[in-house]
Symmetry: C2
Subunit: 366 residues, 2 copies
């Protein structure tokens, strides 16, 4: 059944029935505003990310359930990058009246599922009609007063750390653009692939469609006071390191041989004739955390469980040197780049433009 | 110059330079999240409204500056309807790379100007490319703990009150659809009009394009404990009264001869062969406050300055009777209707569908 057949108010009631009754909210869906009581002694964190059809995603490559999860996940990652605890969400949806109601059901189930992993509930939002599908999530989080980890706190001499491994999301996008599809957790490919490459493609597409926000890691880093500055890797390591250094007024050098590249990303890069390093540096949407710290490396490493790796990739330096990558051959190159929503020119081996079947990378919010 | 010529990061810097440096915010534009410290002893209010090109507005009838003001204003009205004090805003913008940069400048100047009237600053947001222009504002407000005025508190025997006069916004939309335009505060009409009708059209279009959020009135009602329930008139008196009664589990009767109809709306309705009452009941976007109160009428009236009228229009009754309008001839009709983003059928003398030159009415947020 189409949305136009039931209308806006019935659709709101349907959404209300899909979402759980909020457990720690004074007022949820059904009033002019939602209301909640802030936790004493905390600062509020606010972030918003908008996903636009044909730019940030294409319906051909992502189910509405996964789209809902991703829309929530990219915002969770922003809260993680401040060391915060996510608390509650508002969702705006612009959708065609000709869309099926079940699409909306699945979208909100995805939002609910991803939120529930971190005790986040959708407590309000807005609907409008639009021929272009758009999903906006605004997330409210909390962090102990004065303890938010900013981008601006990095100091010369500190080490630069990265959680997890990079490049899988960009490799997943490469596979999607090559016609691979994830359906019911099975990979379909338009060409023959070995079992191990098939598994790499599955992992990479899964990672691209469904980021893993590093909430627990971000919280631990903030509460222990380990991280002097932090950012999530949404635009790509190169671009996001530049952002952090600009806000901190410092320079940075990272080393090629220390960048943790995802194994699936490497396998896919080899198959499609790409540089694994390029995927890691410029691919974006890994949603890992990059942070700086003056702590002893062994103490930083000891904070992480075996499930999540943490790797020192370089050092912060005095302003004026820029952000550089030291290659294994001893040469150094300047880091720039990452995804830009409005540029028409491409700047890397990876296309920065969405295609008819592609899913583009997210830009930084502001 | 087009947006695509400078790209996303330069556009963010440009927006950052237009917006004032936030005065009471811990962290504004430039990090993964914005951050602020909640005022002790308050509850948080959260609301979001999305304006979509061709559905909620058309660029032909509204300048980007006024569009910015309206996008902020409709959210301020939601905070007013809870008796809250607005505090800070996030803005998402989906816009074509082919749009002129000056459009974005003017849009954010409008957001800044309308926010500044109530000490609200834009402290973050997100950008994406889209062929359909879309502006989403999320507003964070505060209200004394436990004092938010909900839709659900109306009780039988209480009077129903309305601030201001109704119908001007819908009359302004009628005039816009008839080809009238407001340019540099001057009215252009495609037909001859008298001086008094011209002034009525100017006032009505101004009101449609630039709502007046009743923040001060809402605050006063909440702080004095006058209002048992409250809602802002965004969808139209008929529809919004139904919403309030449904949330409160009550019925209501309002009387035709007591509904305060705007003079400019009456003049425009006569010129275009419409019923002034229909504009007032179903027009929407007046953004006045409807509230219920058990207080003595003289005490309620004494709370308002001469600048803003307040009118008792009927009473709340036990559940089961529905929402009714008593006509002057003694008959009663059931109230329904108001704008619905996804319905294709029209239910009133006023078109509920946008036209090529029209500016549609806002739906309720959820």
């Amino acid at each position: 059944m189409k949305i136009s057949a039931i209308g806006e108010f019935a659709l709101i009631e349907r959404i209300r029935s899909i979402l759980p009754r909020p457990h720690d909210t004074l007022l949820g869906i059904g009033d002019d505003c939602a209301a909640l009581r802030p936790t004493a002694g905390t600062d509020l964190l606010l972030t918003t990310d908008l996903l636009v059809e044909g730019v940030d995603f294409t319906p051909q490559t992502i189910t509405p359930f996964r789209l809902g999860r991703k829309a929530m996940g990219v915002n969770l990652s922003d809260i993680a990058a401040m060391g915060g605890m996510p608390r509650t969400a508002l969702v705006t949806l612009a959708i065609s009246p000709d869309e099926e109601i079940e699409f909306v059901d699945e979208l909100y189930r995805g939002l609910r599922e991803e939120g529930a992993r971190f005790a986040v509930e959708v407590i309000g939002g807005d609907l409008s009609a639009s021929s272009t599908l758009m999903i906006g999530v605004t997330l409210v989080g909390e962090v102990e007063a004065g303890r938010a980890v900013r981008r601006s706190g990095a100091k010369p001499g500190e080490r630069i750390w990265i959680t997890g491994r990079l490049g899988a999301s960009a490799a997943g996008l490469t596979a999607l653009r090559a016609g691979c599809r994830l359906r019911d957790d099975q990979i379909e490919t338009p060409f023959e692939v070995s079992g191990s490459l098939r598994e790499a493609i599955r992992q990479a597409i899964e990672r691209h469609l469904c980021p893993i926000p590093r909430i627990r890691e971000g919280r631990a880093l903030a509460q222990a006071g380990v991280a002097s500055a932090m950012i999530d890797l949404s635009d790509g390591l190169a671009s996001d390191l530049v952002h952090l250094c600009r806000e901190s007024g410092v320079s940075a050098t990272i080393r090629e041989d220390q960048i943790p590249i995802d194994q699936a990303a490497s396998a896919i890069a080899r198959r499609f004739g790409q540089e694994p390093l390029t995927l890691a540096l410029q691919g974006g949407e890994d949603f890992e955390l990059l942070f700086t710290s003056s702590w002893d490396p062994a103490d930083v490493a000891a904070m992480f469980s075996d499930a999540v790796t943490v790797t020192a990739v370089g050092e912060i330096q005095e302003a004026g040197l820029g952000c550089r990558l030291e290659r294994q051959d001893g040469t150094a190159i300047a880091l720039t780049g990452g995804y830009n929503h409005f540029r028409r020119t491409e700047r890397s081996a990876i296309s920065t433009q969405p295609t008819a079947t592609g899913v583009a990378r997210r830009a930084t919010s502001y």
